[in-house]
Symmetry: C2
């Protein structure tokens, strides 16, 4: 394991992949600052993102490397890539090509809010949940 102070204060890039070989990647819209999605990267996805300036991820459900937009055309151009203090999380500020990020047809994957300050059962509330594209038209039927 690398030295903690080197990881936190140094300029050496030493991404701390988890036991599953992945780091968490938070993706925000470079203009609005809104969080668009949370995804994961393996070393190969990270390498391709750095080299190409376009976002690649590793899909845990499909167990494969994927380029964002490879099916939809909704590519993400990376404006800035940052790493956090302990180098186990990444922040991508992106220009999202096309009408949205989420496979459900929304601009962002975060289209529901959890009400605060209430005990008991929680009912979500839609926020910014309008569809900006038709996922069936973009991705086709499964």
């Amino acid at each position: 394991m690398a030295d903690q102070s080197a990881i936190e204060e140094g300029l050496g890039f030493a991404p701390q992949f988890g036991a599953d070989g992945l780091v968490t990647a938070v993706v925000t819209d470079a203009k609005s600052g809104d969080v668009l999605m949370v995804a994961h990267m393996d070393a190969e996805a990270l390498c391709r993102t750095i080299e190409s300036g376009e976002a690649w991820y590793y899909s845990r459900s499909r167990k494969k490397l994927w380029k964002k937009g490879e099916s939809s055309g909704h590519v993400q151009r990376v404006v800035e890539l940052r790493v956090d203090c302990d180098q186990d999380a990444l922040w991508l500020k992106v220009e999202q090509q096309g009408p949205g990020t989420c496979h459900t047809g929304r601009r962002s994957c975060f289209y529901r809010a959890v009400p605060l300050g209430k005990g008991g059962a929680v009912t979500l509330e839609f926020r910014d949940a309008e569809q900006t594209f038709d996922p069936k038209a973009v991705y086709g039927k499964p």
Copy 2:
């Protein structure tokens, strides 16, 4: 496992904790939109956050529940809590009390950028990396 369309399109809150019992929590500054930190929540941390409107997390390194600010006083008041499409990630927009979020003394944990478009070895670049408080004074010596 819950039905996928209920998870994605429903208003029932069904956070999908991983095998480690945790969900990823992205924390942004409610005013600037900057990502302040990425942390994790277990069910108890999530429950306390919803009820109190202040952020609680689960520390993977210390293996314990913690309230952000319990040592530093740098509490996070949650302005909005959102959940993503597949309900395995949370987005907290917070008002960060005190001069900063990061245990290294910075406003955000993301104070270094990864240069893009270059092959070979990567050298990080400091961005917004000025210390806004002295961590030794705030946390004491370990």
